[in-house]
């Protein structure tokens, strides 16, 4: 196995260690310190790829996983993957450091927490480095599961469980749709490797299945990245511990959808539908998220909606950037390629500043015990450092200088302006939507950023409203937040460093190879339209913030019936009642019905297949003559079976059944199959004992069972099964479709060193069958055990009532 792939497996290796470490060290040492090693090792290692990737080469590592399905674990390290890899491991390291101070050694189940966290980290790395669509899908769903477990981490709260369920339902349903899209894409391109699909992108355009594949994949990406109308799961996901919100639900996992869109832009980009879906969903989400964020009273809910909104911003930039694939004209193509670059740039900025903002909220929550804006205020007096971080993060989000967010926001404005200026895809009519929406959304973004900072930190400090004495957070919580804040500032002054080393190579994965270097990033480019737009945003924003009390009651006029959440709840209820009625139809609780299903399916499926494929037939020429012995035994078997079916006494039925079984033993003896005879005999003995034990539970044979209709159904089922089995056996001897395997049996001594071929088959030639058989056997045994135990418990409960 290649070393790099081994490294990607490090989070999974650490999962195995966590329970041991927890047992050994908790509560003496916080096990987060040990877990911290995993992302740090990975980050350092990924960092060393930077020069190689910058020069444009794409290292590929392959190891076979399921060779028979052509599934390989192929990791490609290009700019886009590397950017995500660094974000996942870098943010991961900071968040784990933060969590060491945030999570309690005594109150929280730390071993669960870090197992889930590492599971997520490993899965997310798998998503961004996989080249195989289906491998990517597996890791994709694994991130959803990890997210589910982490949201429900404090599972004793009802809201946590509901939020986790919602997130799982929405992202996994989206994932199913994406899987369908992946399969279609694999079918029309003939390969599941993303690199190979991109290489033949042009030929796929004409395929009738091209559009369904695109739409299905986009649904998955939108659900994951909380785009409108799938966005409702993200605010509820805020029930997770705050380090998780910072990590999964703002910096990494919700960006998986953006990753997928950027990754597949070379395949789908340049088509009208892709452009409108991606940038349309993005720009609507941007506006929806920012407007909704303003009315939130919970700091985390505010940040959640702001994340939704910012994800929409990046999504719309990716959509605008996809226009670069449309134009042959180099100037136009590179102009839109800049938008793609801006998307990647903002993705990076957002991860950094949103991570720091979540950390400040975590600090506030941790220290004051509340996240309610209405109760907070004046915290600047006690938490000056936290205030600084929050200020930097929020101003960067609002797009103000001198912070990183300003640069990418300006580029966003420029992108929307350019979009409104071209004439394709109906943009000459609707293009103005983009700058208008962008402007409106930015005003609201500015307002909620101000709310976030000033409602919490400014104003009058009222220590009497809090239960405990409030002080600044411990350094361990401040250091990660300060680091992120420092990056935010540094990016503004030295944007070319990250741009040159990682952001340009990342954006190159999503634009045509012909476009240049995405121009220069500059903080000052004269009194250009974007700068004027920013000035307008600040003016309008300040005005709106000042008059917040006057217009915010307007929100209450929106009818509750039409919120997305109400629709979600309604759909869930409908779905539940529908499936309940459907399931009640066939899950009657009667074993007789279930057996009927099985037998009828057997008769229809096997018998029907036999008829339909024309496989019926019998070749009796080579059969041995029937001797007197055989005839006597067979007749007694038939008699015993009839007795078992006809008798009115259960004991008689059981004995008759055993007679039939022992007669079969004699048949085996006659045909010289000692192994089978022995086995059958012991099985028969043990079964009889079992039957006698069960006999205790069975009621007397009822009158109901003697009704002709009841008997007729039984007779027909039995006759049908018997007929199908007989026909099938005859047909099996009639056809010689496959190479006979007698050679194995004849040479069993040379091949397996065994003179008993039956045993050689069981343990050697068909060893896999045996292994699965004993597994099934044991599972069935455990099933019986559980059912009996459950029944006993229920009876006990009934008795005590």
């Amino acid at each position: 196995m290649h070393f790099f792939l081994f490294l990607l497996g490090i989070p999974f290796l650490f999962i195995l260690l966590v329970p041991i470490l927890y047992k050994l060290f908790n509560p003496r040492v916080h096990i987060g310190w040990f877990v911290l090693a995993a992302p740090v090792i990975l980050f350092v290692h990924l960092f060393r790829f930077l020069p190689e990737v910058r020069s444009g080469s794409v290292p590929v590592f392959t190891v076979p996983w399921i060779p028979s399905l052509g599934m390989n674990l192929t990791a490609t390290v290009d700019g886009l993957s590397l950017l995500f890899g660094l974000l996942i491991t870098g943010m991961g390291a900071l968040v784990i450091l933060y969590s060491v101070y945030y999570m309690s050694k005594t109150r929280d189940a730390l071993h669960n927490f870090y197992v889930y966290l590492l599971l997520f980290m490993g899965a997310m790395l798998g998503v961004v480095f996989s080249d195989h669509l289906l491998v990517l899908y597996v890791f994709w769903e694994l991130t959803s599961i990890a997210s589910f477990l982490l949201i429900a981490f404090w599972y004793e709260r009802k809201t946590s469980r509901a939020g986790a369920l919602k997130a799982l339902l929405i992202t996994v349903s989206g994932g199913f749709s994406m899987l369908a899209g992946f399969i279609i894409l694999g079918m029309i391109s003939g390969t599941a490797s993303i690199r190979e699909i991109i290489a033949q992108a042009g030929e796929l355009r004409g395929d009738p299945l091209f559009v369904p594949a695109m739409v299905l994949i986009l649904i998955g990406a939108f659900a994951k990245s909380a785009q409108f109308p799938f966005s409702i799961w993200l605010p509820d996901a805020m029930e997770a511990p705050t380090p998780i919100s910072a990590y999964l639900h703002s910096a990494t996992m919700v960006k998986a959808g953006l990753y997928l869109v950027a990754r597949l832009t070379p395949v789908f980009g340049g088509t009208a539908l892709w452009f409108w879906l991606v940038s349309g969903a993005g720009i609507v989400t941007l506006l929806y998220g920012s407007i909704t964020a303003v009315k939130q009273a919970d700091l985390k809910a505010l940040l959640a909606y702001s994340t939704v909104s910012q994800l929409g911003l990046i999504m719309s930039l990716l959509g605008i950037g996809s226009l670069a694939w449309l134009y042959e004209n180099e100037a136009l193509a590179s102009a839109f390629a800049v938008a793609m670059f801006a998307g990647i740039f903002h993705l990076f900025n957002h991860s950094v500043f949103k991570g720091s903002l979540f950390m400040t909220v975590g600090i506030i929550d941790h220290e004051t015990g509340t996240r309610d804006i209405r109760r907070l205020g004046g915290l600047i007096n006690v938490m000056p450092v936290t205030f600084t971080v929050a200020l930097i993060g929020a101003f960067s989000m609002a797009g103000l200088p001198p912070f990183g967010g300003f640069l990418s926001k300006e580029m966003f404005f420029e992108g929307t302006l350019k979009t409104s200026a071209v004439a394709d895809f109906g943009l000459d009519a609707f293009g103005a939507v983009f700058p208008a929406f962008a402007l409106a959304a930015s005003v609201f973004t500015f307002v909620y950023c101000m709310i976030f900072v000033f409602k919490t930190f400014a104003g009058k400090y009222r220590p009497e409203t809090f239960k405990r004495k409030i002080h600044e957070a411990p350094p361990g919580m401040l250091i990660p937040a300060l680091l992120l804040a420092a990056v935010t500032v540094l990016v503004f002054f030295f944007p070319d460093v990250p741009a040159e080393w990682i952001l340009r190579p990342a954006a190159l994965a999503a634009v045509p190879a012909s476009v240049g270097r995405f121009g220069e990033i500059s903080a000052w480019h004269g009194f250009s339209p974007p700068l004027l737009m920013t000035a307008g945003v600040v003016l309008a924003g300040v005005l709106l913030y000042r008059t917040l009390e006057k217009w915010s009651p307007l929100y209450r006029h929106y009818p509750q019936k039409f919120t997305l959440n109400a629709i979600y709840v309604w759909m869930l209820e409908q779905y539940e009642s529908l499936s309940r009625t459907l399931t009640d139809r066939y899950m009657t609780g009667s074993a007789r019905h279930y057996l009927m299903y099985i037998f009828f399916f057997f008769i229809l499926g096997v018998g029907g297949f036999l008829l339909a494929s024309g496989g019926l037939g019998a070749d009796l020429a080579n059969d041995a003559p029937i001797g007197l012995f055989d005839a006597v035994v067979v007749v007694s078997i038939i008699l015993a079976a009839l007795t078992a079916a006809m008798t009115n006494n259960r004991i008689t039925a059981i004995v008759a059944l055993s007679v039939a079984g022992y007669m079969v033993v004699i048949l085996f003896v006659i045909f010289r199959a000692p192994d089978l005879a022995l086995t059958q005999m012991v099985v028969e003995t043990v079964t009889t004992v079992l039957f006698l034990l069960c006999f205790y539970h069975l009621p007397q044979l009822e009158k109901r069972m003697e009704k002709p209709k009841f008997k007729l159904t039984n007779f027909l089922t039995a006759a049908g099964v018997g007929l199908v089995v007989t026909l099938f056996t005859l047909a099996a001897f009639d056809h010689k479709l496959f190479k006979p395997i007698t050679a194995f049996f004849e040479n069993s001594y040379e091949l397996a060193g065994a003179k008993n071929i039956v045993n050689a088959i069981i343990v050697d030639f068909r060893g896999f069958d045996t292994l699965l058989e004993i597994s099934v056997l044991t599972a069935a045994g455990l099933g019986v055990y559980t059912l009996v135990r459950l029944g006993m418990k229920r009876r006990d409960a009934d008795e005590t009532e």
Binding site: L678, V686, K755
Partner: protein, 145 residues
């Protein structure tokens, strides 16, 4: 079931020894003669069931303190491990080997990795069979109560 049946107790004690011996013989001879892990395991468990039938469950549990669910699980793990061992030497999963070894007392003896695999099969069968019969008969006890 009568808890104090002297003849049944005596007969069971002797019969169980014979059954166990026969079960082990069946298991060991499987490679070249009729027998093997499945049949051996099943015979063995029929012996255990006889014990449970002759004596009451509690006293057997005291003298045979084995959790048969774990026996079954151990059997499967053993089978998987013997199969996985082949992968260490680059062979496909479940490749069995055999060879002749000169042992001090037994002389030239054939040893096959299949025997280990078969042991797993036998344990899984014993565990499951006894487990099922035990849980059903235990249920019966609570039923009476």
């Amino acid at each position: 079931m009568k808890p104090n049946d002297v003849i049944l107790h005596m007969a069971a004690k002797i019969a169980v020894i014979i059954i166990f011996t026969f079960a082990i013989y069946l298991f060991m001879s499987g490679h070249h003669h009729p027998g093997g892990g499945f049949i051996g395991g099943l015979t063995f468990s029929s012996g255990i069931v006889l014990l449970y039938l002759a004596f009451d469950i509690e006293s057997i549990r005291k003298n045979l303190p084995v959790d048969f669910k774990k026996v079954a699980a151990f059997g499967i793990i053993l089978s998987i491990l013997t199969g996985a061992y082949a992968m260490l030497s680059g062979e496909p999963f479940l490749t069995q080997t055999f060879g002749k070894v000169d042992l001090p007392i037994f002389g030239e003896t054939e040893l096959a990795s299949a025997v280990l695999f078969d042991t797993g099969v036998a344990l899984a069968v014993i565990g499951t069979a006894v487990n099922i019969i035990l849980s059903i008969s235990e249920d019966q006890k609570s039923w009476k109560r």
